[in-house]
Symmetry: C2
Subunit: 226 residues, 2 copies
DNA sequence: GTCTATACAGAGATAGAC
DNA sequence: GTCTATCTCTGTATAGAC
């Protein structure tokens, strides 16, 4: 079999299994069985299990980062054309919308974004390094743009608040399930109790991607401008 | 040897090693070697590696949650005495201050809080369940109090924003290192570049716990009240 | 009841035949 | 390039000594 064909089969199988069961609960033997290749194929083509995860993420994140950077550039260019500062809200939208919106894309599994969220904090070394290698060009532009939008905010404080914003976004990705309900596991009980105690609340409906994006943007924008 | 003595030795060794290398990169053989006990001791006393992590976290988090709930009650009681609503800021402070301040406590390792941050999103089943079991009484009171503080905010939106706030806090914990610099790994390069390009910025100094708490509280308060 | 020694199945990784 | 066989190390279970 040709090289790319085998690699693609492995990547597809790994993406699906990682998304379903997580990185550590998925064995190379499951992946290679599903892909219809030999156990040793992963180590031959990718070098290690961690490097495989790295490649699984890279395949999807590369276009995402491209899109994010495009949107950020568009916001900055438009502001420049009008001779104005970019708004914090528009910048944050360019950061958040493609990321959360990614869950509606046709990428592998509905749980892929959750896998990303977990991967950021979890596997050490290779994965984190390559993740931030991806992010770096975006973050550089993002922070520069935020400085333009908030010229009076000290650099240290701006970085800290942007750090908080990243935390919010990562948490959304991690907690995200297919239905789009954040932290369903954690909140469900409390939500139910509240419905008992306080009347007149609307039925808890599944949050649409658009709503989630809007609310997240509003939240971090308020925090950045506090 | 007595029961509690052995258990304590295992818990101490596990806490240190988990904090240093993470849960998955630490083997039971390393833990038991450091504790000076037999490999089988972990399974005898705790049942499994995951249950051990559960106990490691519980030992430190139980007093933390007690403190958090006390502070929250104090804020609510004081507001009631004055016949006022509790302020969002005071509530968020009661949530965040003990949590971040925990890193200055004498608990095991400086990296313990980072371990907590990682554990929330990582090991499945047992650990997450027991973690939220801990949190539940606090969260119930917290959400009730937030409803008092923000009576006009729809319940769905309040929950969503609180969810975002939790994300911010978890991210701070996860990125936290002993020095107190957030996201040093990710930001260091960009920060340095900024120092080159833009002049007049103050030297990046290690952020004190107090500053970090204040800024985090301001950030999420602004987001909640947006 | 505690603890030790040991066995076991499964993991990721690798060398060498084809 | 691919596959088999094998290596080491992991978490877990158990039998038996004290």
């Amino acid at each position: 079999m040709n090289r790319v064909g085998t690699q693609k089969k492995i990547l597809d199988a790994a993406e699906l299994l990682f998304s379903e069961s997580g990185y550590y609960s998925t064995s190379l033997r499951e992946i290679t069985a599903k892909a219809g290749v030999n156990v040793a194929a992963v180590n031959y083509h990718f070098g290690s299990k961690e490097a495989l995860l790295d490649n699984v993420l890279e395949r999807r994140l590369a276009p995402l980062n491209k899109l994010r950077l495009q949107m950020l550039d568009a916001v900055c260019a438009e502001a420049k054309d009008r001779g104005r500062r970019p708004s914090v809200k528009a910048l944050m939208h360019a950061f958040i919308a493609p990321t959360i919106g990614f869950r509606d894309s046709d990428a592998g599994s509905k749980n892929f974004v959750a896998l990303v969220g977990r991967a950021i904090s979890e596997p050490s070394g290779t994965v984190q390094r390559s993740f931030f290698k991806f992010m770096e060009p975006f973050i550089t532009v993002m922070i520069d743009s935020l400085h333009e939008a908030l010229p009076d905010l000290p650099a240290e404080l701006l970085l800290l608040r942007f750090h908080f914003s990243v935390g919010t976004l990562v948490h959304i990705l991690r907690a995200n399930n297919g239905a789009g309900l954040p932290e369903q596991r954690c909140m469900a009980g409390d939500r139910a109790k509240h419905k008992e105690r306080k009347k007149g609340y609307e039925e808890p409906k599944a949050i649409t991607t658009a709503t989630l994006v809007d609310e997240a943007v509003n939240f971090v924008t308020a925090g950045m401008e506090a």
